[in-house]
Amino acid sequence: MKPKFLIATLSSCSGCIGTILALDIFEEFLERVELVYFPFLIDETEIQDTDIALIEGCVSEGKQVDVLKEIRSKSKKVIALGTCASFGGILSLSTEKDASPIADYIEIDGIIPGCPPPPKLLGNCLIKLLENKDLELPENNLCANCPLRGELELKFRDQINDLFPEEINQNDERTHCFLRDGILCLGPVTRNGCECRCIEFGMPCEGCMGPVGEDFTSNTINFLSMLRLSKELRKYEGIFFRFAKPKIRRRLE
């Protein structure tokens, strides 16, 4: 019997769904599973009993909590798909809307982080799920696979002034760490597994894969307290809350 899958969307840009649809293994995936609820593809409007529920998007309205709870009660496994569902996501930057990870309201069985999740990681995770295995995510940080790490030069430049290099050019032959040029890269506090797509493209990491440990903001503060951040950057929320906002901060707003 094919495993039943449910794919639901809360507050999101649907980028994660788009990534699923564009996966090279998507056809194989369709053949091997039974989709019971997936508004993008099938007409079913009621939430059905399922083996695995993938939930995309963060919780920003009260009624979404009811949907979540219903899904939880009808699913054997609930997986947070993408950074919004896992940590809150880009909506964390909003001061008006709430952006809570789904784990704040229901128990979850795993996350597939990334904004959107890197195709390779997502594909592997889907296969693991339909074979009823546990998800395995890399437990180290992005530096482990960083193409710019080079000679393991640990000395960062003290002063960090910029968020981006002046010119972004994929063909630019960057040979060393962004941090050494005074450009902020959040690779050290970000989970590995995205194959450093941004860095390959000439952009420093913004941390969309989320933390390995408990809390992204804490890790970022710990990390940046070791460097000298320019005055403007010290107060720039986009660094600290771009993809997640600690509960305490949400309470304050």
Binding site: N140, A144, G187, G213, N219, N222, M226
Partner: protein
Amino acid sequence: MFSIICKIYLKEHGEEGGLLDIYGILAHPLRQKILEILDKEGYVSYSDLMDKLGLETTGQLNFHLKKLENLISKDKKSYYLTEDGKRIIQIMELNRRVLAGEDLESLEMRKSEINRVGVIICDCNTEISSVIEIAALNNYVKKIPSVVSVKIFDTLCQEKNLKKIADWCKDNFLNKIVIAACSPKSHRVIFERIFEGVIDHPNIEIANIREQCCWVHHAYPRDALKKAQILIEAAVERVKMQKAVQVKRVEVRKSVAILGGGIAGMTLALNLARAGIKVYLIEKSPTLGGKVARWSKIYRMGDCSICFLSELIGELVKEENITIYTNTEIENVSGEVGNFTLNLIKKPRFVDVTKCTGCKQCTYLCQIEKSNQYEFNLTNRKLIYIPFTQAYPYAAVIDEEDIDTCRQCRICERACSNAAINLDQKPEKIQIKVGAKVLAVGTNLFSELKRYNYNPQKDIIISPEFERMLSADGPTEGNIVKLSNGEPPISIGIIQDVGASQYLSKFGDFVALKYLDAINEKLPFCKVDIFYPLSKLKEKDEFLLNPMDKRVHYVKELEIKEINGQKFVIADGKKYPTDLIILNINVVPNKDLKELRKVLDFTLNDIGFMSEETLASGVYGAGSVLGALDYSSTVASANNVALQIISLLSHEYLRAESSGIEITHEKCGLCGLCAMACPYNAIVIESDKVIVDKFKCKGCGTCASICPTKAIEMNIDSTEQILKTIETLSKFKPMRDPATNAPSPKIIAFCCQSCGYAAADECGLKKIPYNPNIFIVQVPCTGRVDTLFILRAFELGFDGVMVIGCKRESCRYLDGVEKVKRKISLIRDIFGSFARNRLKRASLSAVEGNKFAEIVNDFYVELEEEIKNEA
């Protein structure tokens, strides 16, 4: 099962007692019930016993009581269990568990995986029970999950029957212990000794319910009880998460490195060498002797100082156990108490000491002069020189800074008949291994003398220069003269305590008295006036200059002026003509201390001398690194340190502290943050792996607080454990003030073990009360405080967070306080006014108990206001 019971019982009684028919005694259910009642109630009267058993006739009870005669006893009123009786109860409990299906043997085997926590509540001789009800505490603790057994002691630290405790652990298959008692700072070692060989040290957790609960919350007994319950629960949760830790055993090296070849270093070296300890005496300058070698006399010691100093050097040189390295500096240190490795650099002297005969031919040949630092720049010397006549080693030397000039000339090199001079000598690396290290580098002299018109050529000199003048081998051959014209002065003015007032000491007074004697002897008709600024007197705890003495003037205002070629000391408006003015300068902390601190692992006190309470082990201070000491105090401190070192090194092995860090390589992405954060450079990345030098690591945990993936973790006080502690403490619900019914703020304070936690203990010892809503979490260093701890505390409902660490220069782990400061300032920038008002950082020294109470209480009041405003 029988066999277990027999075994346990026989253990207690030996063969004879074992013959007691316990099976017969326990055969009747009524008798078992009697024992159970007595166990539960303690003391029960005969009639109560009848009631509880539901018996109607006394005969039946009498019969059973007689049967139980070895297990129970009776005082005037009531029956109670004897020691044997209590033991039988334990066996019955064991029996019950076996019957209930618990597999005792596998319990023994799986000990390491499961948590069987035993809690000891120590009443500390009623110190606890006078504030909170122990029975209520016991009831609460019993119900904490994983707590198997609770035992109450009157005074655990005085407990003699250690076997009883060991048996309690074994019978209950305990593998972890929580001791609810006094501070771990004072008693941890004693408690560890009680459980030696029974429970591993990391598996012993202490809930500080005395200093940090009962002694400070006696005004709120109900809150104190709740707090004690929560503190114990947090300790249980922590110990449950404790993983096995490997214990290092360090072989003790019977050798000592002494930095500084002054009077303190030399005295100490001689003491240690004669006790059979190998000594490395390391001196930065080219000669032994230190400052005392340049003084004329020691106050009231008669003999000239260099005379007995050279005798001391003579003794030192004879001692086989002493190796002397002059011109040598320390580069780095690794290892731990009992076994340090020191890397030294012997700077080039450019003269081979073994070949130089000290003929001084080279010094006559040399054409270039510079001022002689050994005469405090009063005279000049050649570039190649012998520091002074009694210098050791007695050989020529060229300062490293002059070598480029010398290499252009090389006349001395060619002329030396012994071929001792080698201007191309290279620095030499030396590695030594020692069991302890001593700092005896002495002090510096106060040097900001501009406002005193200091000018030796105009006869305003400083005390060391006067010392040289008094010295028979000095520039004036022991004559007191005016350097301006070489004539003896008619009047001398001595100005006391020149320099910053934080360095005042009675040392300066001795010096003045010494000068009075010397001047009186050499120039009996010379008028001497001693001026002491009254403003400084206020801050001096002791003064030795007699105010009745006509020569001593305690004055408010002091000025040095020259009018028509005559110098005057103008004191409170009165003019004192003086030919020679001596500025009696203070000694100030050695400027090298700040750098040495990073290498040698010691702390500085508030005014910059080495702290006598340096918390690292294996490092000692002798002589005036500890403060401005006179000769006899210096020698006394050296002798004192000698005793400490001899006793330390008398052990064959030391158990190394097991706290340290562990690495999970799968989680490590080699970002290198840990290596950046480590204050001791103990972390390096080698061949794609983070490697910790366990000998350099001191266990501050700064790396663990920084690591984004927690690949690097502490094996004691892990992040998990601290988070769990915060969570448990957050369950505390304080009483509301019945008058206002306003919520009272809850505060969590992360305190470093060296200072913040110690200050809280000190506050307890002084019984200075503070609000029970203030909870203390111990961290090894404030650098250990992860932003996550702070944010999580707020999330879990704490209204205020404090981080209390050492003062800047006395930070036990060099710069942990600085690191946490940067974290907090970033948190404040990001979280704005919320964090500014509710997150506080403070620095205390370990003795500032009253200040601890003050700052936490102030913070409490601030938060009360804040909460009110918010509502």
